[in-house]
Amino acid sequence: MLVTEEKPIKEILGALEADKKLFVVGCAGCPEGWETGGPQKVAELADKLRAGGKEVVGTTMIDFLCNKALVGLRLGRCIEALKAADAVLVVSCGIGVQATAAMVDKPCHPALNTISSAGFQGLWPSSERCQQCGECVLSLTGGICPITTCAKSLLNGSCGGSHEGTCEVEKNRPCGWFLIYERLKALGKLDNYKKLQPVRNFGKMDVPLKHRSTIRWALEAKEF
């Protein structure tokens, strides 16, 4: 199970900026098991968003957001609500946010931070990856993870080795920041590229004791 933590509502509202109409997608897998997601949490989050002055144009649960074909199929059924939305909020691990962002041409924002994959990793789609950094930045990067797509895991844009969309490491490897740049440009969010990123706290990758001392952690991570 992927271990996740809820992002503070203040951070979520901050990342949504002026986007008013929101569609909320929840994963019925790990986040429900970890009690950071699931139908009840998604309903609570929708209430918090409304209290924060946002309009929720629809919500849906998908089991599981790490299955890209399923994500495409289920989101297809919500096409009208998605069209009406300014942005999508995704209650899942980083993989689910990236899988959704790859399917929808709207800004997709994470509602959770992914900390660890204790045991079961979920289904693994083709290109989306999550290193469980614990400080999800997908809001700013158009739903493409710079930590996993950039060969140097840079947070502040492409380095001097990125040319014509490729990485300096390998000729046929796409530059992660080039992909992010293209996506942000298409979303009209290029200003995000200019935002200075704080340095990472690598301590966030360690699952806190409060999580490790739970029964569900024991069920997932311990051998009996």
């Binding site: 140097k152 840079l154 492409s158 001097g160 990125s162 920041w177 200075l196 990123q197 340095v199």
Partner: protein, 292 residues
């Protein structure tokens, strides 16, 4: 305050040079290279494990230069050190009288001679610039007070030849916001490239020094075109070197370099010459450019 800072802040045109520390502890070549640059340039960059090839350290060579009366531009990359080590290097540099620091992300380790090395990249060029300014203000990255703050002059790099250019400009702006006080560019061989680039960055009012790598032979030019991102030696220059007898290559290199400097000097606030060992022709380059 460093002379580089004084000159740039006074709005004067500045020429800097560059030396690469040796792979080993024989520094005779380095001494010769430095001698040729004496009095010809305002400051001299010291590359930091450039191209990810292990060699003598940039901090210790910069310190050596300070003792010998040269002004170094201490290059510091994020590939090999975490935030503890980077901050330590920065305050150590300030303590021994080094003032200019050029903040870079660093080439990926697979481009060098220790391909299996672990890349660190705890910080990047932007957060390293922020760190320099934080240390200058008397605090470290953890928010703790320093017993004596450094007064470092931070600079950054930019590659105007990279495509697409827009993300480069966005990153340039980000580096300015992070506190970059001057820029040196990747090698340029086409003044039009610099002209187009300067139009985009003039608004930020930060001095830009155009970079020129002195060409040693046609093979080197071909290698850069094929392998160095954003560097392009045009056909006419390739022909010029290809048609030059081996004995006259240094003379030709100085001529081409001088011509490029002459063409570019009106567009920016300085030139950063990267002679890759051929510092002996730097006086000729400057002569051809009308800067001697």
């Amino acid at each position: 305050m460093s002379r580089l800072q004084q000159e740039l802040e006074a709005g004067r045109f500045v020429v800097t040079g560059e030396v690469g520390p040796p792979k080993g502890i024989d520094t005779h070549e380095l001494d010769h290279e430095l001698e040729h640059l004496k009095g010809k340039v305002v400051a001299i960059n010291v590359t930091d494990i450039q191209s990810a090839v292990m060699r003598l350290g940039s901090l210790i060579v910069s310190e050596y230069m300070v003792r010998k009366g040269f002004e170094p531009v201490f290059q510091l990359t994020c590939r090999d050190r975490n935030r503890l080590a980077l901050q330590t290097e920065l305050i150590s540099a300030a303590w021994v009288g080094i003032e200019n620091v050029l903040c870079l992300t660093g080439d990926h380790q697979v481009l060098g001679d220790h391909r299996g090395a672990k890349g660190v990249f705890d910080l990047d060029s932007v957060s390293l610039l922020q760190t320099v300014n934080l240390l200058n203000s008397g605090k470290d990255l953890a928010g703790n007070a320093l017993a004596g703050a450094p007064k470092l002059f931070p600079g950054a790099v930019v590659a105007p030849g990279l495509e697409p250019m827009e993300p480069q400009i966005l990153k340039f702006e980000k580096k300015v916001a992070a506190g970059a006080k001057f820029f040196q560019t990747q090698a340029l061989y086409d003044p039009r490239q610099l002209e187009a680039f300067m139009k985009k960055v003039e608004q930020f009012k930060v001095p830009v020094m155009a970079g020129i790598v002195l060409l040693k032979n046609v093979g080197m030019a071909k290698f850069m075109n094929a392998n160095v991102a954003g560097v392009f030696v045009p056909e006419n220059i390739m022909k010029e070197i290809a048609g030059c007898p081996k004995k006259k290559l240094k003379q030709k290199s100085a001529e081409i370099g001088g011509r490029l400097v002459k063409e570019m000097k009106g567009m920016c606030q300085g030139i950063h010459l990267m002679p890759l060992g051929w510092t002996d022709i730097v006086p000729d380059v400057l002569g051809h450019a009308g800067l001697a």
